[in-house]
Symmetry: C2
Subunit: 535 residues, 2 copies
């Protein structure tokens, strides 16, 4: 027998309706531009009408190349709320990858910030399905091409003023948005989120044990909106009525600190690289309004977190997820069983991924597929299940071997889980270094090296070794003005890691090469070091 | 096109799995009995197996007559997680109502606390479908009937030890639980919750702006588990891993205060009558662990809330809902637009229902069906929509006129909503007093009377009046040891309410008659006062 509850689907139009009805007075800030939801919401409805007018078919993909801005937010709502699929594209990818992604998604039209047009327009002839490029003028000076495919965003909206529009998506399982993983091997793979998964994920972020987002918050997603729905923060902010503060194209460290300070931001999220770049500015800034700084995209470097704790009073808090997981799967927090930890221990704990959010299950699995004990020490491949987790990839590359026969996502991370459900990532499967038959965690070795205040960044990769199979090589960026040698690094490591982990080879670099999403590109490092993987 | 997320239904078995996996060390306390989830969860699985063994068909209703206890919690999980329907029955109803409800639900078996057996057993011959009465020995001394239908709960579980059981409910829309409204007119009507609505509701309660329940909390639902799933608190506590503290049959004020104090309860919920009974004990108790006291079932009397604020530092916080709404629809909170309120104004605001939780929509509607402006002053009938709101009644009385043609629930309350979505209940539709063609809110008049510290409780009902149509009659219970007259009440009201609201007739009573759920029974009052409704 079915329950007799109202049949109300979990969809993005209901989110729009919620902000319109309850949070019309709350703000969407882009740089120095402030709008209220009472101003933004009618623009969303006009945008949806403009998509009708452009003849964008229901269920078609609509690409966006945009910074974090009010207009991108309008696209976040208007595209899925009118039954199309929001396809956010990372413009920092290689040209070939962008072309592959736009063609794989068969984007019907593209919305492009004018400052990003120099990246997109030269590729337009390679886009097979794109009928129009709608330019959003964000102050960029790239000359507008004299081409009938070019349209202006504000013109489109102005033409649709006064046309009311009821938005409704009847099926919560309909596709809402699409984001490609920037995999380091093979073609990018698309993750196709449903309205249901977007709404459920937004509810999870409100949880007191997750991000505890509330109407009192001022939320600044620094993590790009072209990257996994900006961790779902725009949708979660709408759900609770938090103010949203967005940097637009102005993402230099000084600009970010000014943004966080001026708008009294309480919650912000970004990858470690961004937080590291702000450190020199912390002491001279007023960031006292921040109550929670979420740091994702990798382990939290404790020296970095300590710098925040010392200067603004709160450490960084880790969160773990992937494009395939909406993305938030775990957020770090102190549990009741952590009573008695010292301040340093608390900060270290907050730098680890933490336990799974509701609706989500974790397991670590041995090579033979057997779940490992949840003892905090036995590693295995991390697998994830839940209503906000991808069950397949979209497009040409199905990535079938990324899912188990019982439907769990294989993350490619090696991890441990303790008896309280706390996750620790040992390494990416492919980044583990196998030396003399034993595994070395590149992540642990990096953290040990970065615990040295003379070190700014460190990345460890394995290179083939005739005797040991593989040996770790440390790529180290010294702190500003510091002269450092390989012997200094080794001396620091002595007593901190097993002696056979200590790398014979230490490369001193000016910076660690990054991927398009700001993570360290270990693939690039391996190529530079001339080493093929031993495997 | 459908999104490509994992097909993971929102069901109660996944909740059980979550506590087993992550919160095995967290506690379920019943009076002085402490168990961990590692102990409780296997009992839930044994219970599910016992239902199989008893031949309870899938989809059948299983009735419970029980206090808030670990065993009732086991029933909350084991019955729905094995595909049956948990039917909680209020044993304080009249015998005829209990018989009607058990027969309407066609309960297959009943689980009954031994202390409640004196109520249930005499009725058993009137129950048409009940095959077994499973007694849960909670220390009651009612002699166990020598009857083959009687079974012992612990025996049933012991017989099923060592039999493992995978629990799964494939369809989240399947019925999970059933609760009848104790309507004051007509037969009780059943509300049939789905697994989906139970799980969604549990997520809502974790929200920072709702109850903000977390792993750090110690949650004591004093609101009975036979009353709307105890406001969903048991399921929400499982979702976040909070400790649960349950009073069992020991619900005397002294016992409740001891329970809250001894177990360092942080969150508790009950109706105003319960909180009022604790007031004399507050000053002598240590309730410093409480961070949130939820008060539902009616408006919060400010004098009562003030008593809490003065003695333990926090006021009561209102929540609004009904059996038909899972139940939580609104919870009171201070918004960013409330900055600048005085302490008294803040407490008064927290005593009102507040804004709607996510996934839920409110509207107030005029007699002609037109939605009223959200201006905080224009009243209309309150209607509610959402995935956690009933769309129809179960059983004999469909209550079709309780739902609008577009599927919203008609609450029978008259209310206003302000521009920030804050709800205020003006009155129950049927409790409004129409005097001289103008409406008098019985709720407002009661609050004005109870603002007098010499008054313990006051209820206002309308009685027929030859001149005015109806006039309000105030039924007033003086505070302990206070001598009060009708003139005292009228003098207090002067200047606080419109002069024509002031009741000519004031009845001084020893107590206000209550319904089975602890609310004032205005029906009983009207009968005592000899008045038929004017309408």
């Amino acid at each position: 027998m079915r329950g007799l509850m109202q049949d109300r689907p979990l969809t993005i139009p209901t989110l729009l309706s919620r902000v319109e009805t309850n949070f019309g007075h709350k703000r969407v800030v882009t740089g120095d531009t402030v709008a209220t939801w009472s101003e933004v919401a009618p623009r969303v409805r006009r945008l949806a009408r403009a998509l009708d007018h452009l003849g964008v078919p229901p269920g078609a993909c609509v690409g966006t190349f945009a910074w974090n801005s009010q207009r991108h937010l309008e696209l976040y709502l208007g595209i899925p709320a009118s039954g199309r699929i929001l396809h956010t594209v990372n413009h920092r990818l290689f040209a070939d990858q962008i072309t592959f992604i736009v063609n794989d998604a068969a984007d019907d039209v593209l919305f492009v910030d004018r400052t990003i047009l120099p990246v997109v327009w030269p590729l337009v002839s390679s886009f097979r399905s794109v009928r129009h490029v709608i330019v959003m003028d964000d102050g960029g000076d790239f000359p507008l091409p004299d081409d009938p495919r070019i349209l202006d965003y504000e013109d489109l909206l102005a033409q649709r003023s006064g046309e009311p529009l009821e938005l409704a998506v009847p099926d919560e399982n309909a596709a809402a948005s699409l984001c490609y993983t920037s995999g380091t091997t093979g073609n990018p793979k698309g993750v196709l989120y449903s309205h249901r998964s977007v709404v459920l994920h937004s509810l999870l972020l409100l949880g007191a044990d997750v991000f505890a987002l509330s109407e009192k918050d001022v939320v600044a997603p620094i993590v790009p909106m072209f990257h996994v729905n900006a961790w779902g923060l725009p949708y979660a902010a709408m759900q609770c009525g938090a103010d949203l503060v967005l940097p637009g194209p102005h993402t230099a460290p000084e600009q970010l600190v000014t943004l966080l300070s001026r708008h009294r931001v309480t919650f912000s999220a970004a990858v470690a690289t961004v937080w590291r770049d702000l450190v020199p500015l912390l002491a001279g800034s007023d960031l006292g309004s921040l109550r929670h700084i979420a740091c994702g995209g990798g382990a939290v470097d404790d020296a970095l977190s300590h710098a925040y704790e010392k200067t603004i009073g709160i450490p960084l808090t880790n969160a773990w997820g992937m494009t395939e997981t909406s993305p938030v799967v775990t957020t770090s927090r102190l549990g009741t069983h952590h009573v008695g930890l010292t301040g340093d221990e608390r900060r270290l704990l907050l730098g680890t991924p933490g336990p799974a959010v509701p609706l989500t299950e974790l397991r670590v699995v041995a090579d033979d597929g057997v779940p490992q004990p949840r003892d905090g020490t036995t590693p295995g491949e991390l697998q994830v299940a839940g209503a906000t987790i991808a069950g397949a990839y979209y497009g040409a590359d199905s990535g079938a071997d990324s899912f188990t026969s019982d439907g769990w996502l294989r993350t490619g991370d090696v991890a441990t889980i303790d008896r309280w459900g706390y996750l620790r990532i040992v390494d990416r499967t492919k980044d583990l270094v196998k030396s003399g038959g034993e595994w070395i965690s590149s992540v642990e070795l990096e953290n040990a090296i970065m615990a040295d205040p003379r070190v700014r960044e460190a990345a460890v990769v394995g290179v083939a070794d005739p005797r040991w199979g593989e040996r770790p090589v440390a790529c180290v960026v010294p702190a500003d003005g510091v002269h450092l040698t390989g012997d200094d690094v080794r001396a620091h490591l002595r007593g901190r890691v097993a002696s056979w982990w200590i790398p014979e080879r230490v490369e001193l670099l000016d910076e660690i090469p990054k991927t398009a999403t700001g993570k360290w590109s270990k693939q690039t490092l391996r190529q530079r070091l001339g080493g093929q993987r031993a495997d």
